[in-house]
C-alpha cells in the first residue's frame, strides 16, 4: 500500500513539474479558471489512479474497472474543459 502512495506521489509531482515547465516554455499567463481546471483534473486523475491501484491491491477487480470508467471519464471531461481554457489563454497571448 505504501508503494501505491509513493507511485501516486511520483506521478503527481511529475505532472506538476511537466505543467509548470510547459507553461514556462510558452511564456504565457494562465487565467484562474485554467489553474482551477488543472488542479481539479490532476486531483481527479490521481484519485482514479489511487482508486484503481487500491482496488487491485484488495483483489476487487470489478471495483477497479468501474472506478476507472467512472472517475476516469470525469477526469477526461475535466481535462477537456481545462484544455479548452488553456488554449484560449494561449490564443490570446499570441494575438498580443
Amino acid at each position: 500500500m505504501e508503494l501505491i502512495w509513493f507511485l501516486i506521489g511520483i506521478v503527481g509531482m511529475g505532472g506538476l513539474w511537466g505543467i509548470s515547465s510547459w507553461i514556462k516554455n510558452k511564456q504565457t499567463k494562465l487565467s484562474w479558471l485554467s489553474w482551477v481546471g488543472i488542479f481539479l483534473t490532476m486531483v481527479m486523475g490521481l484519485f482514479t489512479l489511487a482508486w484503481c491501484l487500491s482496488s487491485i491491491w484488495e483483489k476487487e477487480y470489478q471495483a477497479a474497472g468501474v472506478g476507472l470508467l467512472l472517475f476516469g471519464t470525469l477526469s477526461l471531461v475535466g481535462m477537456g474543459f481545462t484544455r479548452k481554457s488553456v488554449h484560449r489563454n494561449l490564443h490570446k497571448a499570441k494575438k498580443k
Binding site: M1, S54, W57, K59, E60, Q62, A63, V66, G67
Partner: protein, 444 residues
C-alpha cells in the same frame, strides 16, 4: 455457530450431539438477537447527529428502550428452544430432511480442502470453549471461578486502569476494545445449562434453568471485537465462510480468556464470556465500538459487521467509553442490501419497530428485528452457518483509505445520497453473495 458438515446431519433425531451441532448453527442468530435486544433509537436526535460529522460521541445509549424491555430468559433464544419447543424443532427437522446434501458437497466452498479449513478454524473453540457458541455458560475458557492473585495492583485512577487494560487487550489480540459499565439488563434473567449425562439418549438433552449468580458483583465490562477474515466471509454461504466464523470464535475464546487472566493477575476477579450469559452487542455499542445495523449486528467503523464479540466482566473499576455514531442508522434506513441478500428473508425491509416476529425476539427496544427462526432454518438447509448479511453490508470492507472516505460520506445527511452509495457499492462489485469466484479466489 458451529459448522455442521453435510454428512453429519441426522434430521430426524435430536440427540445431545445434534443439539450442540444445531446450536452451533444458530450462533449468528444469537449474536443478532443479542444485538437486537438492544438497539432502537432516538430517531430524530440520531438523524440530526448523522447529518453532522463522523464518529461523534453520545452521552447515553443511542437507542430507545421502553418499559416493555425486560431481561430475556435464555431458554427463548433459538439454540435453547431446540431443547424444549417441539413445534420449532419439528419445523427445523423438516427443512433438514429436504436438503440435497450430495449436491452441496460437489461445489466450490464445500470441498475436502474447504471443510478441513473449517474444522481447523473451529479447533481452538471446540477444544477450549465448546458450548459457548450456543450459549452454554460457565465452562472451560469462559468459567467464572478461575484463581485470582491475592495482592491487588493499584492504578492511579479508573482512567489509567482503562488505558492499560485496553493496551493489554490489543496486545493480546483484540482488533477493537472498549469499556462499558456493567448493566444487569443485558444479562439473561435465567440461564440454561445442559445436564451432564454419560449416556446419550433419544430426544433433546435434559437441561436446567438457573438464575446467574456471579462470584462477585461486576463493575465494568471490557468489550472485545475480533476481526473475521475478509476473503473467507466473502465466500458466504459456504464451508469456507464457516471457517472464517469458526476462527473468529476461536480468537474470541483466546483473547477473552487472556484478558480475563491479565485482570486476575492484577488481583481483580474477572471472567470472560462469549455468546453465553449476556448480550454482547449492547455492551459493544455502549463501549463506543460501533452502531447497530438493520441486520441486528454491530457495525464498526473499521471492519463493518465483520467482527465477533466477546466480553470480560470484572470487579475493577474502569472509566467507560462513550457510545458514538458515524451515520449507520440513517444509512441502514436507505440501504437494504442485507435484507435483499438474506436467503431466508429473515431481515426486515420495513421501518424499525418495538417488537419482533417471534418469541426469540426481546421486545421493548426500537430497532430492526430479525426473524431468528427463518435464519436458523436456512442454516439447516445450508448445512452450515451463513454470513450473507455480513458479506453484503456496504460497511464490510478492508480498512483502506477509499473505504474510509466512503464510510465518512455515509455520515452526510440525505437518503438519496445513501441510496446512491448503496447502488454504487453494488455497481463496484462489492458484497456479492453465493459468489463462486470468491471460493476459487480464496485459495489463489
Amino acid at each position: 455457530m458451529k459448522n455442521r458438515q453435510p454428512d453429519e446431519i441426522k434430521p430426524n433425531r435430536l440427540s445431545r450431539r445434534n443439539f450442540i451441532k444445531i446450536g452451533a448453527a444458530t450462533g449468528a442468530s444469537a449474536s443478532v438477537l443479542g444485538a437486537a435486544a438492544l438497539e432502537g433509537e432516538k430517531d430524530d436526535a440520531l438523524t440530526e447527529m448523522a447529518g453532522q460529522a463522523t464518529l461523534r460521541p453520545w452521552e447515553d445509549l443511542p437507542f430507545q428502550i421502553t418499559e416493555k424491555c425486560r431481561r430475556m430468559e435464555q431458554k427463548y433464544t433459538g439454540f435453547c428452544r431446540e431443547l424444549w419447543d417441539q413445534e420449532f424443532v419439528e419445523r427445523i427437522m423438516l427443512v433438514g430432511k429436504k436438503v440435497d446434501r450430495v449436491s452441496l458437497q460437489k461445489t466450490d466452498g464445500w470441498t475436502a480442502l474447504d471443510r478441513a479449513l473449517n474444522a481447523a478454524g473451529w479447533a481452538l473453540d471446540h477444544k477450549f470453549a465448546s458450548g459457548s457458541e450456543n450459549g452454554q455458560p460457565h465452562s472451560q475458557a469462559y468459567a467464572w471461578d478461575e484463581q485470582v492473585r491475592r495482592q491487588k495492583v493499584e492504578f492511579s485512577d479508573a482512567q489509567d486502569a482503562a488505558r492499560k487494560v485496553k493496551k493489554a487487550a490489543r496486545f493480546l489480540g483484540a482488533s477493537l476494545v472498549g469499556i462499558a459499565d456493567y448493566d444487569p439488563l443485558w444479562t439473561y434473567a435465567t440461564l440454561v445449562k445442559i445436564r451432564d449425562e454419560e449416556e446419550e439418549s433419544e430426544g433433546p438433552p435434559a437441561f436446567d434453568t438457573f438464575v446467574p449468580e456471579f462470584p462477585f458483583e461486576p463493575r465494568s465490562v471490557v468489550a472485545i471485537a475480533v476481526e473475521m477474515d475478509y476473503e473467507g466471509i466473502a465466500t458466504s454461504p459456504s464451508s469456507l465462510e464457516g471457517a472464517a466464523t469458526g476462527l473468529g470464535y476461536s480468537h474470541m475464546a483466546s483473547v477473552g480468556y487472556s484478558v480475563a487472566t491479565f485482570l486476575r493477575e492484577l488481583g481483580y476477579r474477572s471472567f470472560a464470556l462469549g455468546n453465553d450469559v449476556a448480550l454482547s452487542v449492547p455492551y459493544a455499542i455502549a463501549a463506543g465500538m460501533g452502531e447497530l445495523g438493520r441486520h441486528g449486528l454491530l457495525i464498526t467503523p473499521e471492519y463493518g459487521p465483520r467482527v465477533r464479540l466477546a466480553k470480560v466482566f470484572t470487579e475493577l473499576e474502569l472509566t467507560p467509553d462513550k457510545p458514538r455514531t458515524f451515520g449507520v442508522w440513517e444509512f441502514c434506513k436507505s440501504c437494504k442490501r442485507c435484507a435483499e441478500s438474506c436467503p431466508s428473508q429473515a431481515i426486515s425491509f420495513d421501518e424499525p419497530t418495538l417488537e419482533g416476529p417471534t418469541i426469540s425476539n426481546n421486545p421493548g427496544v426500537r430497532k430492526w428485528y430479525i426473524d431468528p427462526e427463518k435464519c436458523l432454518e436456512f442454516w439447516i438447509e445450508n448445512g452450515s452457518d451463513c454470513s450473507n448479511c455480513i458479506t453484503a453490508c456496504p460497511y464490510n470492507k478492508l480498512d483502506l483509505w477509499h473505504h474510509q472516505l466512503a464510510s465518512t460520506a455515509t455520515g452526510l445527511p440525505g437518503s438519496p445520497l445513501h441510496s446512491l452509495m448503496a447502488r454504487l457499492d453494488k455497481l463496484f462489485g462489492f458484497g456479492n453473495t453465493h459468489d463462486i469466484r470468491a471460493n476459487t479466489a480464496f485459495w489463489k
